[in-house]
Subunit: 111 residues, 2 copies
């Protein structure tokens, strides 16, 4: 655990950075879904069960943080496709650890 | 990565469980702070820089999930002390992985 006050403050900031980028109810769920391959906006909305309004906000933030790419497809009507970036792989360990914790927490709560 | 649809749904649920219990801006920060030892409510509010209203909501949820204990101290005026439970140790790996990801994300963004 960091010793000095300054180190503690930095540790808190980096933790909040992660929570800011991947926290909230949906981002890691969207990443989990997209790991199976790119999807169109509507497909993603249906698969995750999120409204278009919330989904577009989440995807915009994920795009800003370099986790997904957005491709406009020349279809009629125009469709937009989302795909994970290689950088999103850096979240694999975090998703795995979160899965494991959620699973054991469920078992503890069931008792 | 889980194969069947059902496994995928369960994987999403356990991920959301973790996000529900430790997501949000403050819970993991509070756990990080309390790892240095128990603190009174006011001390915690000052150390984390959170309002009493938000802090008491976060601590109530953490208490419900078995992450902290709340002790009323027979002082004048009465004070309330918060301490991590042994169960909160199960979050150590998650906090470490989040620290590491936040740190590398900061470096990437600074470019």
């Amino acid at each position: 655990m960091p010793a000095t006050d300054r180190e503690c403050k930095i540790a808190m900031l980096t933790l909040q950075d992660t929570l800011h980028v991947v926290g909230g109810k949906w981002k890691l769920v969207l990443i989990s879904i997209l790991r199976a391959g790119k999807l169109k906006f509507r497909e993603l909305s249906r698969e995750a069960g999120i409204s278009s309004r919330i989904l577009s906000k989440e995807l915009k933030e994920m795009e800003m943080n370099g986790l997904v790419t957005r491709t406009v497809c020349d279809t009629n009507p125009i469709t937009v496709e989302y795909e994970l970036t290689p950088y999103s792989d850096t979240l694999s360990e975090l998703i795995t650890v979160m899965h494991a914790w959620g699973k054991q927490h469920r078992e503890k709560i069931k008792g």
